[in-house]
């Protein structure tokens, strides 16, 4: 079961890391970071529901289903330094697979690995009705999730566990250009994944880009005060993952490259953001056999206070 689970593990890890390691609560892309400011003393709270389905895998007919809720709390230490904590809760991680025993279903639930990360603005170029920001992001993921959960068939496959048991680190750079009409975000993020119990996931490189285009109100000329906005979102996530290591050896059928596109909508007012996107796979180039993403739905809200 363990080797069967590795392709699933890629999808799980991408999902977890994208959410818990790089998705704060600002008015921003739904799948990556932004460099927009958090005011000193301001809190941000975000909840995001993630529904992910994968299928395929040849004769084994694997099906993977993930239901997770990711909670994020952010705080502005200063206008340039913001700290975030992210807690994923998996209320269902399930694998259906055809084995020599017939169709087998295994699943688990529980809190995942918690991430804490900081973002510091190193460049701020403000102008009337817009801004350009550049901010590095650094963080760690702690092994707070379960990494040796069992069911009636024995220990669950490692990727099915809610945690990986290792400390991971990640860091990168976020660039944001925002005007009243649109917002562009780009992020380059590297994940260095730790080793635990003889197993180390492959390190990951993420390149994310996002366009938010205001579709309501259509014009700002005659509007007073702070009107509510509706943005159309279009996001891109390119993820490359190195091969996993287990027992000192590299697994040839692990890691690979994945490109996802995500259209979506976002409603924004002074205190709330309500948003939803559907991530669809455009291209996947796994190392060896692997199942494919069918879709990833992300819906949620953000609140500042």
């Amino acid at each position: 079961m363990r080797s069967d689970g590795y392709p699933m593990g890629r999808s799980l890890l991408v999902s977890v890391l994208l959410l818990s390691g790089g998705n704060p609560a600002l008015a921003a892309p739904n799948t990556s970071n932004t460099a927009l400011p958090v005011a000193e003393g301001q809190y941000l709270w975000r909840e995001q529901l993630v529904l992910r389905e994968r299928s395929g895998g040849g004769t084994m007919d694997r099906e993977v289903s993930i239901r997770a809720l990711v909670s994020v709390l952010g705080y502005g230490v200063t206008s340039k330094l913001a700290l975030f904590g992210a807690v994923p809760y998996f209320y269902n991680k399930a694998l259906d697979v055809t084995s020599s025993m017939g169709r087998v279903e295994r699943d688990t639930r529980g809190m995942g690995d918690v991430s804490v990360f900081g973002r510091y603005t190193i460049l701020q170029d403000d102008f009337t009705g817009g801004t350009l920001r550049i901010a590095p992001v650094f963080g760690v993921t702690a092994p707070t999730g379960e990494d040796n959960d069992r069911d009636s068939l024995g220990e669950l496959p490692r990727p099915l566990q809610t945690g990986d048991g290792a400390w991971d680190a990640f860091g990168g750079l976020v660039v944001t250009y925002q005007t009243l009409q649109y917002q562009l975000d780009a992020q380059l993020l590297y994940h260095e994944n730790g080793r635990h119990d003889g197993f180390a996931r492959g390190d990951e490189m993420h390149f994310d880009a996002s366009l938010q285009y205001r579709i309501w109100p259509p014009r700002m000329n005659d509007l007073a005060g702070t009107p509510d906005f509706v943005y159309a979102l279009f996001e891109s996530n390119l993820i490359h993952r190195e091969r996993d290591e287990i027992g000192g050896a590299t697994r040839t059928e692990s890691g690979g490259t994945q490109w996802l596109l995500a259209p979506g909508l976002q409603y924004v007012n002074r205190r709330w953001i309500v948003e939803g996107t559907v991530q669809l796979p455009v291209a996947e180039a796994p190392n060896g056999a692997a199942i494919q993403d069918d879709y990833i739905v992300r819906v949620g809200f953000r609140r500042n206070f």
Binding site: A39, D126, Q183, G225, R270
Partner: protein, 103 residues
Amino acid sequence: MVKKLSLSLAALAFSVVALAVDNHYILGVDGLACPFCAFGVEKRLTKVEGVTGIEVEVADGVVRVTLQEGKTLTEEQARQAVAEAGFTLRSFSVAKTGANDAQ
């Protein structure tokens, strides 16, 4: 007697208006480009003593601040509050008649 009383009332009314006018400020803020960001500016300016009202005009990058009578907002206070929110103070002025003469 009636004339004196009328003059006194007029003077009182004028002074009240003058005080009120002195407590309206117009800040030009660069970097503001969405409603969610406006909250941070409001939050920081609210911490300035005497502030009773804040209105953000996102389209123009203008923030109107109202203070209690007898309280004042200095340009340095405004600059600091806007900077703490993560934005840049572009201009600062005292509203003369409450007119929409944003910078």
